[in-house]
C-alpha cells in the first residue's frame, strides 16, 4: 500500500524498549477507586448513586447528559463511600466531583443486558446506543465520546475506518501490547465500528517500530478482505488523526473540518477493543491498559487498570519510585499532562503514567532565540512557531491568531527541537486558552446583545400596540361620542 509523505515531524528517543516486551498484567484491586464525573470531552456525567449505596461491577454510576457526554460504571462491586470533590488528574490540581467506591473484594457482576446477537445484522443506531451505554470514549487520549463519533456516517459519505495503532508517543507501549495480545478483539471491534459507520474499508495504521504488532494484526485481519494492515513511517506525530489520514490516503484535511468530510473516520485500537467488549459481551468500559514507565520507575509495566485506581497505587504496583522524578506525566512525554501529585486517579484517557528523571526531561534555562528556523522546518502543521511565540510574548494574541496559532495542536515538536530550550508550546497553549476565552466571551456578548435587541423590539412593539389600541379606543370613543351627539337615542341606550 502506498504511503504518502507527511510534512515535518521529529524522531525523538522512543525508549519503548523499557516496556514493549512487558505483557499486560492485571492490576490487583486497590483499597479505593476514585471515578471523576468528567473523564471525557463534553458535559460531566450525572451521578445516579449516593453515599452508602451498594453497587455491582458494571453498574451505572453516572449517566451521560447532553449530546456529548459519557456514562461511568462501577469497575468492581462494593460500597459508594462518598461523592465528593477530589483532586482531578489535571495540571491545575483543581478538585472535581468524584464517586469513591470501596471495593468489597467479591468483584460481583451486575446483571448485564444480553449481548447483541449478530452485530452485523444490527442497525447503526443500536450499536451506537450500546457503545454510548458502555461509556466508551476515545482511548488514544482525546477521550471524545465514541458513540458520537460513530454517528459521522449519517452526515458524510464514508469510505474508510482508520484504526490508529501508530502510537507515536515515546515510552508508551499500551497500544502495541493490545495489538499483539488482543489482535482478534481489536479487529472484531473495528469491523463492528465499520458496520456502524457504513465504511466499506478498514485500514489499520501502525508505526514500523512495532513489527510484532503489525504481524499479529495482519494475521488477525487475514480472514477479511476489506481490512488492510499497513506500516507507517516512524515519524512523530504520525498518530495525529489528520497526519495519519494524510499518510494513508494522501488527503489533506482542510482547516476547521473533520477527516469525516474526506470520508475517513479514525479510531484508536483500544477503542476498537472496548467496542468489541461492549457489543459482544455487553461489558461497559471498566478498565484500560496503561503503560507505567520512565527512568524513575523501579519496574516499567503494561497494566490492565480498573478506572479510578490512584496513580500512587499504580506506581506502588510497579515497585515504587527508585529515584525522585522531575516530572510525573499523564500520557506520553510529548503531549501528556504534568500531574500535580500521585494522589490522582487513572481515568479513561490515561494511556501512560511516566515518572521521568531530570536527565530524561533534559530541561534547561531558556536562552535567547537564535532564529535557527528548526521549529519552522519540523512543524507538522506548517506554522511559524518562532514568529507566533514572538507575538505571544508581547501579548499580541490577535497577531498570533493571524499566523495560525489556533491550527496548532500542541504536538510539542517545536519545543523538542529548540536549541534555546524555549517552551514554545507553553506559549501556544496560553494563547489558545486566552483566544478561546475571548471567543466565548464574544459569543456570549453577541447572544446577550441579540436577546436585548429582541427584547427591545418586543417592548417597543408592545408599546406601539398599546398606543395603537389606545388610539383606536380613543377614536372609537370619539366616533361613539360623535354618533351619540348625532343620535341622542343611541346615547341614551348606552
Amino acid at each position: 500500500m502506498k504511503i504518502f509523505p507527511v510534512r515535518g515531524g521529529i524522531h525523538p528517543d522512543y525508549r519503548k524498549d523499557l516496556t514493549c516486551e512487558k505483557a499486560i498484567v492485571p492490576m490487583p484491586m486497590p483499597q479505593k477507586l476514585y471515578l471523576p464525573l468528567q473523564q471525557h470531552i463534553g458535559a460531566p456525567a450525572d451521578p445516579v448513586v449516593g453515599a452508602g449505596d451498594l453497587v455491582k461491577k458494571g453498574q451505572l454510576l453516572a449517566r451521560a447528559q447532553g449530546a456529548v457526554s459519557a456514562s461511568t460504571h462501577a469497575p468492581t462491586s462494593g460500597r459508594i463511600a462518598e461523592v465528593a470533590l477530589i483532586t482531578a488528574p489535571h495540571p491545575s490540581g483543581l478538585p472535581q466531583l468524584t464517586i469513591v467506591i470501596e471495593p468489597d473484594g467479591k468483584d460481583e457482576w451486575a446483571e448485564l443486558p444480553a449481548p447483541v446477537a449478530d452485530p452485523f445484522a444490527a442497525s447503526s443506531q443500536e450499536i451506537r446506543e450500546r457503545v454510548a451505554a458502555a461509556g466508551i470514549v476515545g482511548l488514544g487520549g482525546a477521550t471524545f465520546p465514541s458513540a458520537v463519533k460513530l454517528n459521522l456516517g449519517s452526515q458524510n459519505k464514508l469510505e474508510t475506518l482508520l484504526i490508529n495503532g501508530a502510537e507515536c508517543e515515546p515510552y508508551l507501549t499500551c497500544d502495541d501490547r493490545v495489538m499483539r495480545e488482543y489482535s482478534a478483539e481489536v479487529i472484531d471491534g473495528a469491523r463492528i465500528m465499520a458496520h456502524a459507520l457504513g465504511t466499506p474499508k478498514i485500514v489499520v495504521g501502525i508505526e514500523e517500530n512495532k513489527p510484532q504488532a503489525i504481524a499479529a494484526m495482519t494475521q488477525a485481519a487475514s480472514a477479511f478482505s476489506n481490512i488492510t494492515v499497513v506500516g507507517v513511517p516512524v515519524q512523530y506525530p504520525m498518530g495525529s488523526e489528520r497526519h495519519l489520514t494524510q499518510a494513508i490516503t494522501g488527503l489533506e484535511t482542510p482547516a476547521k473540518k473533520l477527516t469525516a468530510e474526506l470520508g475517513v473516520v479514525v479510531h484508536n485500537v483500544g477503542t476498537a477493543r472496548a467496542v468489541h467488549h461492549a457489543i459482544r459481551y455487553s461489558r461497559p468500559l471498566l478498565s484500560r491498559v496503561v503503560t507505567v514507565s520512565g527512568g524513575a520507575i523501579t519496574e516499567g509495566k503494561n497494566i490492565d487498570v480498573p478506572l479510578g485506581t490512584l496513580v500512587s497505587d499504580l506506581v506502588a504496583f510497579c515497585g515504587g519510585l527508585k529515584e525522585p522524578p522531575r516530572r510525573i506525566v499523564n500520557g506520553g512525554p510529548m503531549m501528556g499532562q504534568p500531574l500535580p501529585s500521585l494522589e490522582v486517579p487513572v481515568v479513561k484517557g490515561t494511556s501512560g503514567i511516566l515518572a521521568l528523571t531530570a536527565d530524561e526531561v533534559n530541561e534547561r534555562d531558556t536562552k535567547p532565540c537564535i532564529r535557527c528556523g528548526g521549529c519552522v522546518t519540523i512543524c507538522p502543521c506548517g506554522l511559524v512557531p518562532v514568529e507566533m511565540a514572538a507575538f505571544i510574548r508581547k501579548d499580541n494574541l490577535d497577531g498570533a491568531a493571524k499566523l495560525g496559532v489556533m491550527d496548532c495542536f500542541s504536538c510539542g515538536s517545536c519545543s523538542y527541537v529548540c536549541p534555546s530550550h524555549i517552551p514554545l508550546v507553553h506559549f501556544f497553549n496560553y494563547a489558545k486558552g486566552r483566544l478561546n476565552d475571548a471567543d466565548r466571551e464574544r459569543r456570549k456578548l453577541e447572544r446577550i446583545k441579540m436577546l436585548a435587541e429582541t427584547r427591545n423590539t418586543r417592548v417597543e412593539q408592545q408599546a406601539q400596540a398599546k398606543k395603537a389600541a389606545a388610539a383606536a379606543a380613543a377614536a372609537a370613543r370619539k366616533a361613539a361620542a360623535a354618533a351619540a351627539s348625532e343620535n341622542p337615542e343611541n346615547k341614551a341606550s348606552v
Binding site: P12, E252, K257, V329, P333, P338, R371, C372, G373
Partner: protein
Amino acid sequence: MTLAYTDKSAPFTHAPTSVQKTMTTVILALVPATLFDAWLFGWPAIFMFLITVGSCVVAEALCLQAQDKPVGETLADGSAILTGWLLAMSLPPWAPWWIGVIGSVFAIVLAKHLFGGLGQNVFNPAMVARVALLVSFPVKMTAWVTPHPLLSDKGLSFVDSLGITFGHGFNIDTMTAASALGYVKTELSRGVPVTESVQHLPDLMDMALGLHAGSFGETSAILILAGGLVLLARRIISWHTPVALMGTLFVMGTVFHLVNPARFADGTFHLMSGATFLGAFFIATDYVTSPVSKQGQIVYGIGCGLLAWIIRTFAGYPEGMAFAVLLMNALTPIIDHNCRPRAFGRTRKGEPLEVKGEK
C-alpha cells in the same frame, strides 16, 4: 507532595540540542581551514586571529557586564567566539593588531549588543565589522600578503612576526599580491580583457587549495567547502541558502561569460575565488540574520548571489560577498513575512482548503 511540577506544559523530553552545541559545531567545521591558513600565512596571521577572537570575547564580556547579564554563562554559548572567528577569517592575514580590536568593537558592540544582543541583531556582526573596516582603512584591508608558510624558507620568525602585528607592519609593495578578483578587476580597468588576465592567475587547482593571496579564511576553498558539508551533514544548516547563492553566482557568471568572455569572468571562476564558499556556507547561513523558512532561504540565497555577482562585476570593490549579505540581511524581515510555509489544511493565502468534490 513536591516531586511533581506542573509549571510547564509538555513536551517533557528534549532533543540533545543547545545553542552552545550549535556554535561549537560551526567552530569545529572552521578548524581545518583555519589551521591550514595559520600554516600558510605564518605567525602574523596567528596573532591577528588570536587578537580578533580574543577582543571579541572581551567586548562581549564588557557588554554583558554593562547590562547586568550573566557573563560567564552567556560567553559559554560560543557566539562571540564564532563572530570573532568569522571576522578573522574575513580579514587580511597580516592585518595589524588594531584592525582586529576595532573590528571586534564594530561587530560585538555596535552590530550585536546595541541591537539587543544574541538573536536580536539585524545585520551579521562579522560582516558589519568587515565592511566598516574596509571603508575606513581601505589600504590595510586590501593588503593581501602572498603565502609565507610556517617552517618554510619564506616563513617569518616569531619575533619578526611580532613586529608585523604590533609594530612597523610590512612592506606592502614587495610582500603582497592582488587577490584573484582584485587582479581581474584592476586589469579590466586598464583595458585588459578577462580572457587574458585570468591567464596570469594561479590555476584553478591552486585556487581551490588556497595557495594564493587573499583574506585569512577565504583562500582555502576546499577546506571551507569540507567544513560546509560537515554543517550540512550535521543538519546545522540546510542546502537551501548555499545552493541558491552559489547557483545564482554560477549561472550569472556562466551566462554573461558566454555573451561576452572578454568582459565577464566565468561561473567557475566566481565559485572558486574570493569568499564564495565561506560566504555561502558560513556567512549567509547565519541563523540570526537570515530567513527562518526554507522558501525564504532560497529567496535570500538568490539575492545574495545576485548582489555579489553585480558588485564583483560592476561596482568599485572586487569582492561583494560582505555587502551582498548585509543588503540581504536588511531584507530578511520582509522575506520572512512573505515566505511562510503553507499551513496544513490551508491554501497559501491561509484560507481553509476546499473539500474535494465540493464547490
